[in-house]
Amino acid sequence: MITQVPHPVLEVHDLTVSYDQHPVLWNVDLSLPAGQLVGILGPNGAGKSTLIKSIMGLIQPTSGFIKIFDKPIQEVRTRISYVPQRESVDWNFPASVLDVVVMGTYGKLGLFRRPGKKEVQIAQDALEQVGMSAFAKRQISELSGGQQQRVFIARALAQQADLYLMDEPFAGVDMATETAIFQLLQDMARAGKTVLVVHHDIHSAMNFFEWVIMLNLHLVASGPKDQVMTEELLRKTYGGKLNLLTQVTDLIRKQDFNPLKS
């Protein structure tokens, strides 16, 4: 169930990625429309982060290619933003919240140029959007996990990009914050931005995403939520993973169909 779209913002063609000859992504081929909030679902080790990193050009694919806004990534880097996993950095780094968010503007600034008033203003607006203005001067080592995550999202916002790639932005975030951030992402999508989110929770995925990519080494599905969030495709994606299967049955119960009958 893979829906291809005309005039995509992002196209991935026959992408295969392997680490030490061990494939982690196999023949992924998809395209995404603009202005959508897109969820990437799949069990652990399905290649979700690898897909994001390949799109960002941080990993060399074994084969295949990627086009963003119909161009190779190198030509459009300033239009793409990236939120890495929170654990990928050391939060003891001596910097304030504002320092980190200003880093989002560095790509557009280019080499040697220093951030000025304009960049600080952009960063402060981004902090406002994620509800972290009060923490601007705080050292990042003094933040909670959810606050760190919001700082990373603010940094991405400060980039003022058109395509956002977020690697598990909701890991360690409480429900209230998750809903607030989801609403922010929905607003961004409505404003024409495309937002790709690696996500774990199928329930909130049902509620918030408009387009869903399901991944398990292979691409299982890519299309509008209503068409791809089916029992069959979820089973195909998570098949065999017990604890996740429970979540799937929860979902099925919610949707009012009985797997034993079908």
């Binding site: 990193k53 960002m56 050009g57 941080l58 190198q74 880097r77 300033t78 793409i80 933003s81 990236y82 890495p84 990928s88 950095v89 050391d90 003891n92 780094f93 001596p94 910097a95 304030s96 320092d99 980190v100 880093m103 989002g104 560095y106 790509g107 600034l109 080499l111 040697f112 140029r113 220093r114 951030p115 050292q139 080592s141 003094e142 940094r155 980039q159």
Partner: protein
């Protein structure tokens, strides 16, 4: 205890070297690469010998270039061992710098008849001879101690480097992936930093020696990091410590008639231990009301 010109020159030179090393050391520390600085300072030896052999002079550009190339080579080798051969970082550092250093020793022995390179000098340095090693132009003009000029040039270049690339250095130290993602070349910035470390090592080895350069790269930034959690104050404090170390090191060495470079590093070590005693989480120290210091967690 006097403040004559010689004392002033030695202190000035020591402070310039300590600040240059400290500034670079701050970024090595933040990248958790302090021991890479150690590796570079030893791995440059074959480059120095080859540069010396090619040019026939210890004071030539070839020596600096040779050392710079070897410094970059050692960084690449450490990286390759770690990523391609899957060797632990500490082990790959140990393998790389001992191998290159040993090759340097063998080269010194092989070329010993042609190269007047004092191993003692490379390893330990002697800042005390600085006032008699003058830079005299062909026309006979005495411009003062050569090593002070070298240290000044080094200080100027290191400070300029950090000033120009401050934004890139801090971003790549904090989040390498993000910086690559937004188009700031993390690998290039890293190579530039490693080149500066190599150059600084060579420029300083005559005065403080290759071993003691390591101490200046690691100890003052680590001490400052115990006291502050912001980058700019961290750099300022590191510089202040560098000056303090040079002054105290000189006078204490003068007082007990010992090695100035050795005393500088001893002072640095004592300052670090003192700071660690004050700022660390010692179980006996502030029981009950202890404020945890995140610096010690990492």
């Amino acid at each position: 205890m006097t403040l004559d010109t010689n004392a002033l020159l030695i202190i000035l030179t020591g402070a310039l070297i300590a600040i240059s090393c400290g500034f670079l050391g701050v970024f090595l520390l933040l990248r958790k690469m302090s021991m890479t600085g150690d590796a570079i300072s030893h791995a440059v030896l074959p480059g120095i010998v080859i540069g010396f052999f090619v040019s026939g002079s210890q004071r030539s550009l070839e020596v600096i270039i040779g050392a710079g190339l070897l410094g970059i080579l050692s960084t690449l080798m450490i990286d390759a061992l770690r990523k391609k051969a899957k060797v632990q970082l500490d082990a790959s550092i140990g393998i790389t710098f001992t191998l290159l250093f040993a090759i340097g020793i063998i080269l010194i022995n092989l070329f010993a008849y042609k190269v007047d390179l004092d191993q003692e000098c490379v390893l330990y340095g002697e800042i005390a001879y600085l006032p008699i090693d003058l830079w005299i132009t062909p026309s006979g003009l005495n411009l003062g101690p050569r090593i002070t000029w070298l240290a000044g040039l080094n200080f100027f270049l290191v400070t300029g480097f950090i000033y120009l690339l401050f934004k890139e250095l801090s971003l790549t130290s904090f989040d390498e992936h993000f910086s690559s993602a937004i188009g700031i070349p993390a690998k290039g910035v890293n190579m530039a930093l490693m080149s500066m470390v190599s150059y600084t090592t060579v420029s300083s080895f005559e005065s403080v020696g290759a071993i003691l350069v390591v101490a200046l790269l690691v100890v003052p930034p680590s001490t400052a990091y115990l006291w502050t959690k912001s980058l700019i104050p961290l750099l300022r404090l590191t510089a202040a410590l560098g000056i303090l170390i040079a002054i105290l090191g000189y006078y204490l060495a003068y007082w007990i008639d010992s090695s100035i470079a050795g005393m500088m590093v001893t002072v640095a070590g004592v300052l670090f231990i003192g700071s660690a005693l004050i700022k660390g989480n010692w179980p006996l120290g502030h029981r009950g009301t202890s404020h945890s210091s995140p610096a010690f967690d990492s």
